[in-house]
């Protein structure tokens, strides 16, 4: 659905994005992470054919972003970083304005507007001026605007920023609900929890360059090493540790607790339990220590 190859954008002497190469397939959600100024918004703007790439090429929904801008924009739903709503307009009229721009007929406009406003809990406030909406309501309205024409590609820049936890959860659920075999979703966010919860793959950008791409599990394995486990014994460890497979890396021993990395845990974890049991210890618990995307992100940024 999205194919970008060596995409770059230069503003005068400054390269905002360099050599951005990424494929996003239908049915996939890709989260783009990166600090402020990493080039996420510029990348989104190039993908929606608002900015012309200075280098490289990209197609979105089968259309070239450099030469088929109108077609690209007709097939993309965008939630911009700033929601950019006309605050003097009533919400329903606002959505109707954009639905007309996207060429929907009146029946379809009414049907879609009602559906999305109800979905986001805005229907009761449809005649209110947008100026009277809270930040969260405005964000939901902007998201409804991006969904009106049911585009095959969704580019969402910070979809849950400025939202209360309940509204943010609603939007995350909506994004989950928008997953389909026909749709690709790109999510730019600072919220690592959100990225991990929603995305099939994560792309991390720094200073205009894409420096890591993969599923959350792949990124953790690549940047944090093998999974980490903790064993809790029935009594504190006395003397030397029983002989364990060489591949297992012991990280810490604290009383009854042993922290270790196990590269082939399906094979090695039963062997570890067996060795400890044979040495007279009872295993009270064996569990994986959760490693968060935040650790990956910080690790990548530190490189």
């Amino acid at each position: 659905m999205i194919h970008a190859e060596g995409l770059g954008k230069r503003f005068e002497d400054f390269w905002a994005v360099e050599d951005f190469t990424l494929d996003v397939h239908a049915g996939e959600v890709v989260a783009v992470l990166g600090p402020n100024g990493a080039g996420k918004t510029t990348t989104v703007r190039m993908l929606v054919s608002v900015l012309q790439p200075s280098r490289g090429k990209a197609t979105v929904a089968g259309f070239d972003v450099a030469t088929q801008g109108l077609d690209v924009r007709a097939h993309v739903g965008v939630l911009t970083e700033q929601h950019g709503l006309y605050t003097r307009m009533p919400a329903q009229e606002y959505l109707d304005f954009f639905a007309q721009i996207y060429g929907l007929d009146e029946r379809l406009r009414q049907e879609r507007i009602e559906r999305w406003m109800r979905y986001f809990g805005l229907w009761a406030y449809r005649d209110w001026r947008i100026a009277t909406y809270s930040k969260g309501m405005r964000q939901k309205l902007a998201l409804a605007r991006a969904l009106l024409h049911e585009p095959p590609v969704l580019l969402l820049d910070e979809p849950t920023s400025a939202m209360d936890p309940e509204s943010a959860r609603l939007v995350r659920e909506a994004i989950q609900g928008l997953r389909s075999q026909e749709r690709a979703i790109v999510l730019c966010t600072h919220n690592l929890y959100e990225a991990e919860a929603l995305a099939d793959r994560i792309a991390i950008m720094r200073r205009g360059r894409l420096i890591a791409v993969g599923s959350p599990a792949e990124l953790k394995a690549r940047w944090l090493g093998p999974p980490m486990f903790e064993i809790v014994l029935n009594r504190a460890l006395e003397g030397d540790l029983p002989s364990l497979p060489a591949e297992v890396e012991i990280l810490a021993i604290e009383g009854q607790r042993i922290l270790f990395r196990s590269p082939g845990w399906e094979t090695f974890n039963p062997l570890i339990v067996q060795a400890l049991t044979a040495a007279g210890y009872g295993v009270l618990r064996l569990a994986e220590v959760p490693q968060h995307l935040e650790q990956v992100y910080l690790e990548v940024m530190a490189q």
């Binding site: 900015l51 965008v78 911009t80 950019g84 709503l85 003097r88």
Partner: protein, 480 residues
């Protein structure tokens, strides 16, 4: 464009315009002054006209009243139309500042649809109000004073109002694309307000003198400028320019770097630099032909205007020698001919005039930069006509004796100056993609300066030398 493509294009454009017009009507800050200007101003002008008529009639100066009515009609039309400038700044720079432009830019609309839609919206309300205000004024004048404007006068006032509004709005768009906030755009708007204020003063003078033919010409000229500026606006209203910049930075070092880099170009020696100038001059060919045509036209216009001056009853010197002596004895010749001081004075006078013209051109998209240097050629044309009618010399003889000796260098130098200034003004309408207007404009000025410093200034020095030493000698041997 096929009919269905045109219908689709217009549908999108009208959507933008309609939304903006509705938005304006919802904003009391726009509606309140417009209502005031529609109702209060025409009635105030009716009252003013009445009072002035009563006053001047006491002294038999009815002509003042008669000339005042059309002038007040123009004022009544202009004031509401001038609101379009404020609305334009708000519509273009304001949308950009509030980021409401971003969802529109991400919609399947072309830059031209957005631009034309906004332009229509910005013009619609102020112009409607303006026409209505003129109607209220005219009806008021008819009811109170029995005065009707002629249909042509009414049409001319409405035309002037419309073209001025279009020009202001298009200029506001250009400014707005270069400013990231309404505040910055408002500050830059003085670049529009000052020329328009001068234009209005000019129109007022012409209205009082009842030179309606000049006003028609003014309307045509403003229309040309409006079309030109709208072309510039269209060229600069694009997604790249609107989203490419986030902050306004005024950096002297940046200005200096851009200017100097372009002024110097790739050259590493004076010869190389002149090689680039030669290349620049070759690119000026079309503009040079146009400049020579304009100079000839200015001369012809000057001659035609001078021809309208009646010479009967004017006390005239009998020949050109007497005339020259009367100038000398009257202290009318400030330049010491035949001296180095004279060379310097002539050169500096000409260079200063050209620099002032160029500076004025910078504020008027090159228009004054062209018109001011053409003025001497109109004067020359007029002078030659008067000399011929006074029987002093044939126009060709006078031209060959008084102008040509130094003109052989000065006229090409002026043609090059006018052509370079023409190109400078025209370049605004076709910006380089991916470059800000500021950087583009600076580079255009640097190329202009390269020609001015490298060609015009040395040629003018040579012309001053000839004018000081050679021309008086030729004139004194041939004419006197």
């Amino acid at each position: 464009m096929s009919r269905s493509a045109w219908a689709t294009w217009w549908h999108g454009t009208w959507l933008i315009a309609r939304r903006e017009i509705r938005d304006q009507i919802r904003d009391w800050r726009i509606v309140a002054p417009l209502v005031g200007l529609t109702l209060f101003l025409p009635l105030l002008m009716n009252f003013t006209a009445q009072q002035v008529v009563h006053f001047v009639q006491k002294y038999g100066a009815d002509i003042v009243a008669e000339r005042l009515f059309p002038f007040l009609m123009m004022v009544v039309g202009f004031f509401p139309a001038s609101i379009s400038l404020v609305i334009a700044l708000e519509s273009f720079a304001g949308e950009r500042e509030r980021r409401t432009i971003e969802p529109l830019l991400a919609a399947p609309l072309t830059d031209a649809q957005l631009y034309v839609g906004k332009l229509l919206a910005v013009l619609f309300l102020p112009l409607s109000v303006s026409y209505f205000a003129v109607l209220v004024y005219v009806l008021g004048m008819h009811l109170k004073m029995g005065w009707w404007p002629s249909p042509m006068l009414l049409f001319m006032v409405l035309l002037l109002t419309t073209v001025q509004a279009v020009m202001m709005v298009c200029a506001a768009v250009v400014i707005s694309t270069q400013a990231t906030s309404v505040r910055a755009a408002s500050l830059l708007a003085s670049l529009i307000i000052i020329p328009v204020a001068l234009l209005l003063q000019w129109e007022s003078m012409m209205m009082f003198w009842q030179h309606y033919e000049v006003l028609w010409a003014t309307a045509a000229a403003v229309l040309v400028v409006a079309v030109f500026v709208s072309r510039i606006g269209l060229a600069h209203f694009n997604r790249e320019d609107l989203l490419g910049r986030e902050v306004d930075i005024l950096s002297i070092a940046w200005i200096k770097n851009i200017f100097w880099k372009e002024f110097r170009g790739q050259a590493t020696s004076l010869k190389g630099w002149y090689g680039q100038i030669w290349h620049d001059l070759k690119n000026l060919r079309a503009a040079l032909i146009m400049a020579l045509g304009l100079m000839l036209a200015a001369g012809a216009l000057g001659a035609w205007l001078a021809h309208q001056i009646p010479l009967q009853g004017v006390e005239q010197p009998h020949n050109v020698q007497d005339a020259f002596q009367s100038i000398q004895t009257g202290g009318g010749l400030p330049i010491a001919l035949g001296s180095w001081q004279g060379v310097w004075a002539l050169w500096w006078h000409n260079i200063r005039a050209l620099l002032v013209a160029a500076a004025a051109g910078a504020l008027t998209f090159g228009v004054l930069g062209i018109l001011v240097p053409l003025l001497p050629y109109a004067i020359i044309g007029g002078g030659l006509d008067l000399m011929a009618r006074l029987g002093w010399a044939s126009p060709w003889q006078a031209f060959a004796a008084l102008i040509l000796p130094h003109g052989i260098v000065e006229i090409p130098a002026m043609a090059i100056f006018i052509a370079a200034t023409l190109q400078l003004g025209a370049s605004l309408a076709s910006p380089a993609p991916g470059e800000t207007l500021g950087a583009f404009w600076l580079r255009a000025w640097a190329r202009w300066a390269r020609i001015f410093v490298g060609v015009v200034m040395p040629m003018m020095a040579l012309a001053a030398l000839l004018e000081t030493w050679l021309t008086p000698w030729v004139a004194s041997h041939w004419l006197f």
